[in-house]
């Protein structure tokens, strides 16, 4: 990554000393936010982070060369929020690769990944730290990401904090029996692993230092599943906690979007080529090719074919990075193969 990183905090050293030496209130958490042309949403995200119940949070904002005045807004906020806010400005839009700049510079024991239009509930960071401390093999704590409109409407913070779902071994035991109906024996037989939502997730920093951050070659989307594969393969878990709540704003919905179906489709190919053992990889490739052809006709769009061609063109990158995960991980981690084909029109 040869982009200029402009850390605006002149007193960074002082800031880090202050934050690192204070161990009375628990370990430092680094909230890493990727920003691109959402000035007002980003301001709200930073304000929400700054007002968190958990005090030992540093906020790292990596801006992907926004052109809507985000930079000026950030510099202004940095003056007020020094030393907690640290800024990194990219020369161009690097997509999710820019997150890695934040991950690399994070000084906390745990990294909280957020979008520029998402923020955690007031008590979420403190609870997240507890989860990591309780379980040394927890790699990623996945948040319950809710719609912004549901902020203060859903029962997130009021939920019993002991209620969590192990993504590795989901059972029906954590929800009141009176509410959930399904033959328990039948449900308990379902064991599969999940990925996480990048609009709210905590990651153990030492693990990320070992296995790397987001795959820069993906640019957008499916990066969470890629990281999840590596987390599981390293012997750590990705677990969902319903009492860790984050709120996320909805994207514009009234126009055709080529971006999401394109990147989701292309990156799903790259994902399986990178991580699946050979036989599963070819089986999944044939399945995906079929889905591409089917949905090209169904939705009368060339976007999926373009994504397939682009994936083939980037095959060399996938091959270079190819490191098949253990077979049981490939079989258990749920990859939503049909999801890319549900967002075009």
């Amino acid at each position: 990554m040869n982009n200029r990183m402009d850390n605006t905090m002149d007193n960074d050293t002082i800031a880090n000393t202050t934050l690192d030496n204070d161990t009375t209130n628990g370990p430092l958490v680094s909230a890493v936010v990727l920003s691109y042309n959402r000035r007002n949403d980003l301001r709200e995200t930073i304000e929400m982070l700054a007002s968190q119940g958990y005090a030992r949070v540093e906020i790292l904002v990596v801006d992907n060369a926004s052109t809507d005045g985000t930079r000026e807004m950030l510099l202004d906020m940095a003056e007020k929020l020094s030393p907690r806010l640290r800024l990194f400005f990219m020369d161009g839009n690097l997509g999710v690769d820019a997150y890695n700049v934040g991950f690399f510079n994070a000084k906390g024991q745990y990294v909280l990944i957020l979008d520029d239009d998402s923020f955690p509930a007031f008590d979420a960071i403190e609870k997240m730290v507890e989860k990591f401390r309780e379980n040394p093999t927890l790699g990623i704590a996945a948040f319950d990401v809710r719609d912004y409109s549901a902020y203060a409407k859903v029962a997130g913070p009021a939920v019993d904090s002991s209620a969590n779902v192990s993504a590795a071994n989901i059972s029906a035991d954590n929800v009141p029996a009176s509410l959930v109906s399904a033959p328990r024996q039948e449900v308990n037989q379902l064991t599969y692993a999940m990925s996480f939502n990048g609009a709210g997730a905590g990651v153990r920093k030492s693990l990320m230092d070992k296995i790397g951050g987001y795959p820069g070659e993906f640019f957008l989307y499916v990066n969470e599943v890629d990281l999840s594969f590596r987390v599981w393969d390293a012997g750590f878990s990705v677990e969902f906690f319903r009492d860790l709540v984050a709120y996320h704003k909805s994207s514009p919905v009234n126009r055709l979007s080529f971006r999401a179906p394109f990147y989701y489709t292309r990156n799903t190919f790259l994902l399986i080529w990178k991580h699946y053992p050979a036989d599963l990889m070819w089986r999944a490739t044939v399945k995906l090719v079929y889905l591409v052809l089917y949905h090209t006709m169904e939705q009368h769009t060339p976007v999926y074919l373009k994504a397939l061609m682009c994936a083939v063109a980037k095959m060399g990158v996938a091959l270079k990075k190819r490191k098949p995960v253990k077979r049981d991980i490939a079989l258990n981690l749920r990859v939503p193969f049909t999801y890319p084909f549900t967002m075009y029109r």
Binding site: A150, S181, S250, L319, F341
Partner: protein, 181 residues
């Protein structure tokens, strides 16, 4: 009281909005949510959802996989939320919804527009689906073959590059250590 079943075929973020909208349209309704097992905890957090039904399969909703529990259940309305405008890509969920006994069926899209859905409409979609499937099945081996050949090409290229690089490295090493190859 109207009995409504919502099939959780979208993200919870979208479902938050859908339920808010439905509360306005059906103020007296009793809501149930059908979700895969990983979504049951989240579905249970809705204060106005009185029942969460777990879909006891790992795979997607399918016409051929109706949970035992829904075989004899009756609903007034079944709702299929879709994460786009037209509902494209959700045929499996629409067909699945037809297996559930209900008086009415609606799709609710990303714009929160509620559109009725009927078996007649599904028939047309199934006919088109059959044609697309036949063509896709016919073309899949060709396209997969192209992908496979490209993969082999990359493999061979990288192997030969590695070989050349290895030889070069050997020569260079030999030069520095005085060994001749």
């Amino acid at each position: 009281m109207t009995n409504i079943l919502i099939i959780r075929s979208c993200s919870f973020q979208h479902l938050d909005r859908v339920i808010e909208r439905l509360k306005g349209d059906f103020p007296e309704a009793k809501f149930a949510v059908l979700t895969h097992v990983h979504g049951k905890e989240m579905a249970a957090t809705y204060t106005n959802v009185s029942r969460v039904i777990v879909y006891p399969y790992v795979k997607s909703f399918s016409f051929t996989r109706l949970p035992q529990e829904l075989r004899y259940a009756d609903f007034d309305v079944v709702i299929v939320p879709v994460s786009n405008v037209s509902g494209a890509g959700f045929l499996n969920v629409f067909l699945f919804s037809l297996r559930i006994r209900s008086i009415k069926r609606y799709i609710i899209n990303i714009r929160l527009e509620l559109k009725p859905f009927s078996a007649t409409k599904a028939t047309g979609m199934v006919a088109a689906d059959l044609v697309y499937k036949i063509v896709a099945v016919a073309l899949t081996p060709i396209m997969s073959g192209v992908v496979l050949l490209t993969w082999i090409g990359y493999k061979l290229t990288s192997m030969s590059i590695d070989k050349v690089a290895g030889r070069l490295a050997g020569k260079i090493t030999g030069k520095f250590t005085g060994r001749k190859r």
